[in-house]
């Protein structure tokens, strides 16, 4: 049996073929089953060491990778560095040397600078997995979103996916756009014009500024988190205005088809981009996304870290 995989790194979804994406999803199916066993652990990566290197704060992605590594029997080291203590360029190179000295087999990197994972991947023998780099990509989030849609709808092809929010600064949106368009979905981006520039249409998606026009035909609505902590005033209306114009309120949710899925990468701002009733409603698959994230990350760690170097 041969695999459709020969990459040591996962840096983004843009460079993956539809076959590679589907292969990760099929591998994740197998690993999702492990979570239902009495002993939720397999020896697939026994003896390997994974370093979680997070230069930006993150709890859910980091713990998801950590649990995924534990379930594959890999050893885990967590290194968190505050953004302030690390500048770009030279220090990252030093970081790489240090990680190599630890004999890490797999490096999971979250960094505020786009391209940092690629920089390290070119310099390290270890596998490098991008856990979010600046506004560039967050490939495992894109994969878990696609996995969740495929699990619920049985396919991606021809589905209408609406992504709402701060697209311009969102690595989640980019990874989603790449994966979804490769698998044949129709993608519409919605948000304030300052945060959803028309240039995105070059990626093969549609841009809209009127959420009420697109919701009735949506098969999936993916609401991005409004990141107040990094919003610049000139780009962003105000929180109240955002909710009025783009929030998935209880009233607005009535526009959705009954089988439309509601997604959110978390952590959710209840009452801002989504109302509590919708987030906890029957159409919400937000917690499925968390469960599936674990399976997808196990698949990625297995495929990148299990390959002989």
């Amino acid at each position: 049996m041969s695999t459709n995989w020969n990459r040591k790194d996962l840096l983004g979804l843009r460079e993956l073929s539809p076959e590679e994406i589907n292969f990760i999803l099929e591998t994740a199916d197998a690993f999702k089953q492990v979570g239902t066993r009495e002993i939720k652990k397999v020896p697939a990566l026994r003896g390997k060491t994974m370093v979680n290197f997070f230069v930006e704060p993150s709890t859910r992605t980091r713990t998801s990778f950590e649990l995924a590594a534990h379930r594959l029997s890999a050893d885990v080291i967590n290194i968190s560095v505050t953004t302030s203590s690390l500048t770009k360029g030279e220090t990252l190179k030093d970081t790489a040397r240090n990680l190599e000295a630890l004999h890490a087999d797999i490096l999971v990197l979250r960094h505020s600078s786009a391209g940092a994972p690629q920089f390290l991947a070119q310099r390290l023998k270890s596998s490098v997995i991008n856990a979010g780099d600046g506004a560039h990509e967050h490939p495992t989030q894109g994969l878990l979103d696609v996995y969740t849609i495929r699990e619920r709808r049985g396919k991606i092809d021809k589905l209408h996916i609406v992504i709402v929010g701060d697209i311009l600064f969102s690595r989640v949106a980019r990874s989603n756009i790449f994966a979804l368009t490769k698998l044949g979905a129709r993608v519409t981006l919605v948000g304030p014009s300052t945060l959803v520039p028309r240039e995105f249409e070059k990626l093969g998606v549609t841009v809209s500024y009127k959420i009420d026009d697109v919701l009735p035909t949506a098969d999936v609505v993916n609401l991005l988190r409004i990141q107040h902590e990094r919003q610049r005033k000139e780009y962003f209306p105000g929180i109240g205005e955002y909710t009025t114009l783009f929030g998935l309120t209880k009233e607005r949710a009535k526009l959705l088809k009954p089988d439309c899925l509601v997604m959110h990468p978390g952590p959710i701002n209840r009452g801002v981009e989504i109302d509590s009733e919708v987030a906890d409603g029957l159409q919400s698959v937000i917690l499925d996304q968390v469960t599936n994230g674990l399976a997808v990350r196990m698949a990625v760690l297995y495929l990148c870290g299990g390959i002989a170097t």
Binding site: S2, T27, D29, A30, K41, V42, P43, K48, A308
Partner: protein, 184 residues
Amino acid sequence: MKDTEQNPGVPIMDAEAIRRALRRIAHEIIEQNADLRSVVLAGIPLRGVEIARRLAEFIREVAKIDIETGTIDVAMHRDDVGTRAELPVVHASKLPLPLEHRTVIIVDDVLFTGRTARAAMDAISSFGRPARVQLAALVDRGHRELPIRADYVGKNLPTATREQIQVRLQNVDNEPDAVWLFKE
């Protein structure tokens, strides 16, 4: 089927021989397991799953009992990850639960080093603790590297390590049922 002019395969079993061997194994399983209802046939992907399905069919014909079948993935339980250039493809396992008080029969097409069977036993134990685990193989070609033996064997076939055995099954390979020997 791997077949070149320089290296034609030697036919070892044809469809009829495979059918007879599996029917005999089905009879042996019935004979060895007084409580057939407690038996689970756990096939190793891909061909072991098909062989388990056929064994269950023979058992149904003979004993009029529907015995349960399942799939047991071994790829994520192998001991050679990171040492091979090509990663084994992982499949989802599926076993009827709980396994306590049951007899799980691991079903594979070829028994060789025993490492796959070991990985299967490891995988099964992550689902629970069956009363017994047994092993069935269509072909036992020898060269064990672990203290493992099969309880049910379709055909014992002494081979050289460098030779290759290939099992082909209609439903899996879209080729007529056959076992081939290739001399390297």
